[in-house]
């Protein structure tokens, strides 16, 4: 079939659109001037400023803790929910559970954030718990909204999985707990890792929900960055962005190389 130039040119323009702002962000993080529009010479002063900014460092540490905790909790609950929906057949409340694991995917963040905050305030009035808001309430909120994403990924893997493996284990006398830990879990392990990584990223990235349910002294990194950039562009944020982009690019490149080699090996094995 004849291939014209239209498609490659349109695709190239699309990639320019995707990457031009990122390239500009990185370039101006090395700019001497405070202005992020005029080039005034190479400098790393904004990186120095960034690493001396205690507020940002503290917020980054809080964000990391919240992300690890909520990704882990979301993975446990999400995989359980997916297993229940994919393997346990009919039970009372099945429709409710299905709804509650898919609705968070389409729920606007402002609604999730506001409704959880109002819940925490009401619970504090009635039960005396949680006493005040902070990291704990952010972790609960992030676990709840990330859970749905993990459940979707795990559920699609469970559906694709060959159930005869589990049946064989049962026929050989393994109990349901043993089947789950020895057969099901290892088979869906890649989906669990993917789900954890997605939950980790979503938690690290969230501004809106955290802003609602956080309390004094527990500002996450996006909250601090947002309050900074609201006042206008500032080059130390460019430096922060450059570091994040470098970390992500390196991890994705590594993952890409591993995946590519695996595919090649699999193709050769056939």
């Amino acid at each position: 079939m004849k291939r014209g130039w239209t498609l490659p040119i349109l695709a190239l323009l699309g990639f320019v659109f995707l990457y031009a702002p990122i390239v500009a962000l990185v370039v101006f993080s090395f700019n001497e001037s405070r202005l992020v529009t005029v080039w005034a010479g190479f400098s790393t002063r904004w990186y120095v400023a960034l690493f001396n900014d205690r507020q940002i460092l503290q917020a980054a540490w809080i964000s990391l803790q919240v992300a690890v905790a909520s990704a882990t909790l979301a993975t446990v609950f999400g995989v359980l929910a997916a297993f229940v929906l994919a393997r346990l057949g009919r039970f009372r409340g099945r429709l409710l559970l299905t709804g509650m694991t898919t609705a968070p995917l389409v729920m606007p963040e402002v609604i999730t954030g506001l409704s959880l905050l109002l819940l925490f305030v009401a619970m504090e009035q009635v039960l005396g718990w949680p006493g005040g808001r902070g990291m704990g309430t952010i972790i609960i909120a992030h676990t709840t909204f990330c859970l749905a994403f993990v459940a979707v990924i795990a559920q699609s893997r469970l559906r694709d999985m060959d159930e005869s493996l589990e049946e064989a284990a049962r026929d050989l006398g393994a109990g349901p707990v043993r089947v789950f830990f020895d057969i099901t879990l290892p088979v869906i392990a890649p989906a669990i890792v993917a789900g954890w990584l997605l939950a980790f990223t979503l938690s690290l990235d969230d501004l809106v929900i955290a802003s609602f349910v956080s309390g004094p002294g527990a500002s996450t990194l996006p909250m601090v960055v947002f309050s900074k950039v609201r006042l206008g562009v500032s080059p130390d944020v460019n430096a922060l962005a450059t570091i994040i982009i470098a970390v992500v690019a390196l991890s994705i490149a590594t993952a890409g190389v591993i995946l590519y080699r695996q595919n090649k090996r699999r193709a050769q094995g056939r």
Binding site: F28, V38, P108, V110, I111, L114, L118, P176, F226, G232
Partner: protein, 313 residues
């Protein structure tokens, strides 16, 4: 795992729960169920209840729902004032409509920009295909907030877009792009573009090359082939991509807050301001409840309908 299931504490716990009438099965169902009931479903009832309260100067800043009347009987203090105001004040109505309009236009542009990229990747040979796919996914894993921020510097009066257009002589005076609805739309298209490209790619890569060859053999030009064969076959991918962009775009807060101007009305931003600036919690709750019924419910219904017709794969 045998060691665990054979261990004494495990067996005792299992037996104890069995005596109480709990099977392992019930327990496994109960854990995610309880978490979601408490932290996902109950909050909506709290939201509904507070939307019926009045703002007061206290902690928490809303009136109680039940109160003791002077004669000792229990009174229910619910009022629909917030909903009346939502209906009467054109600000809220305009915000809902303008959110839908902005999300719609952005989705359309995301489709126009994303389709050629997805199509090109789908027809690329390996390893170029994997590399390009990773390039599409990479921005998604970096910070959403920082990707919006990147456009703040880009669209400024002295920003790179204006410098470029002035330098090439396309314009004589800098365009005002920041703090406009246009900037908000650019921001939405930019941040949600990967969500458009990935489902489109997944769909386009499954199409059989034989269709295109047959069409070409029968004398159709590439454009005719695209319009009569490729495009109709990729409708499921188009629908999936559009849903993934349109749904989060409606409730967006960060993008209008950073790139929009004071006249860029979006409902997520109205809710945020009602809560954080006006400190009117009941009004914010009422906005959220109406949003649930006008935005979330139709979207869930539409998805269900598409699922049933098998179009959402």
């Amino acid at each position: 795992m045998t060691a665990l299931t054979q261990s004494r504490p495990w067996r005792w716990t299992a037996r104890g729960l069995g005596v109480l009438g709990f099977s392992g099965r019930t327990l496994v169902i109960a854990i995610p169920m309880l978490w979601l009931l408490v932290f996902f479903l109950v909050p909506f009832f709290v939201l509904g209840r507070i939307s019926l309260a009045e703002p007061i100067l206290a902690r928490p800043p809303y009136s109680p729902l039940f109160d003791r009347a002077p004669d000792g009987s229990l009174e229910i203090l619910a009022n629909l004032d917030n909903y009346r105001l939502l209906w009467e004040d054109t600000l809220y109505r305009n915000a809902y409509l303008s959110s839908i309009r902005i999300a719609f236009v952005s989705t359309l542009f995301a489709l126009l920009i994303g389709y050629p990229i997805a199509y090109y990747i789908a027809r690329s040979p390996e390893p170029r295909r994997t590399i390009l796919l990773l390039l599409v996914i990479l921005p998604f894993w970096t910070s959403f907030l920082l990707r919006v921020y990147a456009w703040m510097g880009f669209l400024q009066r002295e920003g790179l877009v204006n410098s470029f257009l002035l330098f090439t002589g396309i314009i004589d005076a800098p365009l005002i792009m920041m703090q406009t609805t246009f900037a908000v739309q650019v921001g939405i298209v930019y941040t949600y573009l990967p969500f458009m490209i990935l489902p489109l790619y997944a769909n386009l890569t499954k199409l059989d090359e034989a269709f295109f060859e047959a069409s070409a053999d029968l004398g159709a030009s590439p454009l005719v082939t695209f319009l009569t064969v490729t495009l109709p076959l990729s409708v499921p991918g188009i629908i999936a991509g559009c849903m993934l962009v349109f749904i989060p775009a409606i409730g967006e807060y960060v993008i209008p807050a950073l790139l929009g101007g004071p006249d860029t009305l979006m409902i997520g931003r109205v809710l945020w301001d009602e809560f954080f600036s006006a400190r009117d919690w009941p009004m914010a709750a009422a906005v959220a409840i109406v949003m649930l019924f006008l935005v979330v419910a139709p979207v869930m219904w539409l998805q269900d309908w598409l699922d049933r017709r098998g179009l959402n794969r």
